[in-house]
């Protein structure tokens, strides 16, 4: 009896672990990927990007519910076209990159939109130590071992305390910031 139970438990465990390994792991090719963001300042678009980021992706298009995305961005790697702005945006009132060197997204649920290569990933976005729900919208293109995910997420900077004091509620710099990403990933061969 005891033996049978152990066998049952073992096989169950095996089955579960085998399930989790179903979604193949991908590694991002940073040189071919980019994360950009767009904000509206004085009714005109301003943009920037992050040079350093990584993503832990386990993805199976046939089983989006078993897929998982965990992305991390080095906030200090931010680049904007104006030298002063690039310095200021790293200050405590803005991204506070010294105290919070990383921003991250962890998906909780990935859904594939029917009959398409469009997905949305609901999860938690953590910036400046604050976590708020966020949904990534992306299109996935797969060719053999290579996958390219192109999408965006719209964030409210107020949810993360980006821009304090007079900037917090001022429309001179709009609350919504659009982050666009293009992640080029290769299936990890293990």
């Amino acid at each position: 009896m005891h033996r049978i139970l152990t066998l049952l438990a073992a096989s169950l465990l095996l089955a579960v672990s085998a399930r989790a390994a179903d979604a193949p792991a991908y590694e991002t090719v940073s040189k071919k990927s980019e994360i950009k963001f767009f904000a509206i300042l004085n009714n005109a678009p301003v943009q920037g990007r992050f040079r350093e980021f990584s993503a832990d992706i386990r993805f199976d298009p046939e089983q989006p519910d078993k897929s998982h995305i965990a992305a991390e961005v080095n906030t200090g790697s931010i680049v904007v076209s104006h030298a002063d702005a690039e310095k200021n945006i790293q200050l405590p009132e803005w991204l506070s990159t010294e105290k919070f060197p990383k921003a991250s997204f962890k998906s909780k649920k990935i859904t594939r939109m029917p009959f398409s290569d469009n997905y949305y990933a609901e999860g938690d976005m953590t910036i400046k130590g604050k976590t708020a729900p966020a949904t990534l919208n992306f299109h996935l293109q797969q060719k053999g071992d290579v996958a390219v995910a192109k999408g965006f997420v719209t964030l409210k900077r107020s949810a993360y305390g980006i821009g304090k004091g007079e900037w917090a509620k001022d429309d001179a710099l709009k609350d919504e910031v659009r982050v666009e990403f293009r992640i080029f990933a290769k299936k990890m061969t293990k």
Binding site: N42, A44, Q47, V80, S81, N88, A172
Partner: protein, 195 residues
Amino acid sequence: MPLKNTVASYGSAAKFFHWLIFLLVAGLLTVGFIMTGREINPDTIRLYGLHKSIGIAVLLLALLRLSWRLANPVPALPEWMKPHERFLAHASHWLLYILIIVMPLSGWLMSSAAGFSVSVFGRFTLPDLVAPDKTLAETLAAAHGLLAFAIIGLVTLHAAAALLHHFYYKDNILRRMLPFTREAIRASDTDATGC
């Protein structure tokens, strides 16, 4: 007062352009110095937006004004003026035309290079003239600042000359550009060959 210039005086169109652009440029210089002297906060950002919007308005007005100027004769300079005096007058006027066009253009270029597109009164955004480039932005910022001082210098010279003509030479040079005056054509006026 006629719309077009006559042999004796500027018409209402020329006067309108002249004084409106002067007022706007004076305003731009004031706002420009104030906004660059303040700390960067949302209100300062809005001042920048206002400055850029009015700047583009001046660019448009300057182009219209130049077109009007090229399509119309201008009242002649007083006969007694010597060749070098005429040269100074013509040169400073043309330089002013060039400055009111180059100045807003340099601002637009600088904004483009700095990655801050120009929004005109929040209604539409102008295309960027150049791609973002930190070094270029700094150079253009310096140019825009230098041009501001050039304009201040030249406008001061221009106004001083007008006052000189009015109070010292006692001719009608200033009067014929003043709004609400009407200069009659006199026998002493020659045909309109211009500035």
